[in-house]
């Protein structure tokens, strides 16, 4: 590992660039993993606040896993308090309406099925799958964020896809 110039993340420029690079990423990760119900945005902010407050104790190369671990733990604590069914983003109605009402209804139905199927995935499958499909991240990038191997990411995503297809077909 190259030796970094700073031995902590207190430097303003450094913190700022770190913040902009990883803030949305942590938020998305928590959102996919735990859903919107438990306020992942608050947890993301708290995690970065913790990093800011303790910047003297955190080395730059450890900062990313620091905020991800804190964010994740905070969400887990919250989960302990509320055992909830995952509820993903409300499906927004489309603005254009040149489709037939029948088609719209079918589409709504499909989305509901998909939502339920996503809720039934395991946390690790859902997180990796949504990062891949929605954010368009490649396996390698996801592996880096989750700190697991590319192979494991690949397996999770493929398994998630199979589960979703199977479940939608059954319903």
């Amino acid at each position: 590992m190259p030796k970094s110039l700073q031995d902590n993340i207190c430097n303003e420029v450094m913190f700022s660039s770190f913040f902009k690079k990883h803030y949305q990423s942590l938020y998305s990760y928590l959102y996919y993993k735990f859903g919107d119900y438990l306020n992942p945005e608050d947890k993301t902010q708290e995690a970065f606040t913790k990093l800011w407050q303790n910047c003297g104790k955190v080395k730059p190369e450890k900062a990313k896993s620091y905020v991800f671990t804190i964010g994740n733990n905070m969400m887990l604590n919250e989960v302990k308090h509320h055992k909830v069914v995952l509820q993903h983003q409300k499906i927004k109605p489309k603005s254009h309406t040149n489709e037939s009402p029948e088609f719209l209804m079918q589409e709504q139905e499909y989305l509901q099925k998909l939502q339920r199927a996503i809720g039934n995935l395991t946390e690790s499958e859902r997180t990796a799958f949504l990062m891949n499909r929605v954010e368009g991240k490649r396996h390698k990038e996801i592996a880096a964020i989750l700190e697991i191997s590319t192979k494991a990411v690949e397996k999770r995503i493929y398994r998630a896809l199979s589960k979703l297809r199977q479940e939608i077909e059954e319903l």
């Binding site: 803030y23 959102y31 303790n54 104790k57 368009g136 493929y158």
Partner: protein, 298 residues
Amino acid sequence: MKREDLIQKWLDHALTPEEFEAFTQLEDYEELTKMQTALQYFKAPEVDVDAAYNTVTTTQKDTSKPTSWFKPLLKIAAILVIGFGTYLYATLPTLTMHDTVAANKTLVKLPDTSEVALNAVSSLSFDEDAWEEKREVNLEGEAYFKVAKGKTFSVITNDGVVTVLGTEFNVKQRNDLFEVFCYEGSVKVTHNDTSVVLQPGQRYLILDGKEFRNEEENLKEPMWIHNESSFKSLPLQEVIEEFERQYDVTVKAQNIDISQIVTGSFTHTDIDMALQSITLPLNLKYQKKQNSIILKRD
């Protein structure tokens, strides 16, 4: 290329244009594209990164370096030292000491108004703070106690312990002599694990490790209180030592059997009279030379 591999590659966003062409020909294509489109509804909302950045960076920053392991340890150690020191200081017995030198007597008042008359060359100490819990004094030498009524009163000497409830008694502890005389009430003497209870007028005596008990005349107080030392059936040695203590002199005995048993007394106020009362009955002569006295056969 196999169908599964194509899907895997699609999942990794790694299809080449040719592979993509093949992928579109798959029977899964339509279903996968539909799902892909639908999944976009599940995208995590955009967060306002700049607003969040401002919120986060306005909080107080702690830039302190990680503290080393011994700093908190030092704090703990300091607390322990202070605590232990205070504890020791608070619980250490603070002994009150009273000493007398040769040719000197003193009267000591104890916290409970008990009185102690301290004979020459004696030392008395007690813990004033713990007096409420235990009435205990340490004695070296000779003292006469008038003990006020109350809890058990103990006199601790090297030769034994004297315990009473409220009474008057005399304790004498010199080199090889330990004598307790009870004047009033009753006194319990403990010596080498054996206990003896004395009634008024009774004397308990240990001389050279041998125990004697006998009745004495009915005295109200020890004679030495009234500046006179009296002896009953004691070796001449003891008389000479007491004389030395009372007059602060050294006495040499030449060709005299100092172990012979004598009974008698001498005054503390007149050295010549005292010497006469010792020497006359024994047919001895004495010579005075400043601070030393020589006893000789007639």
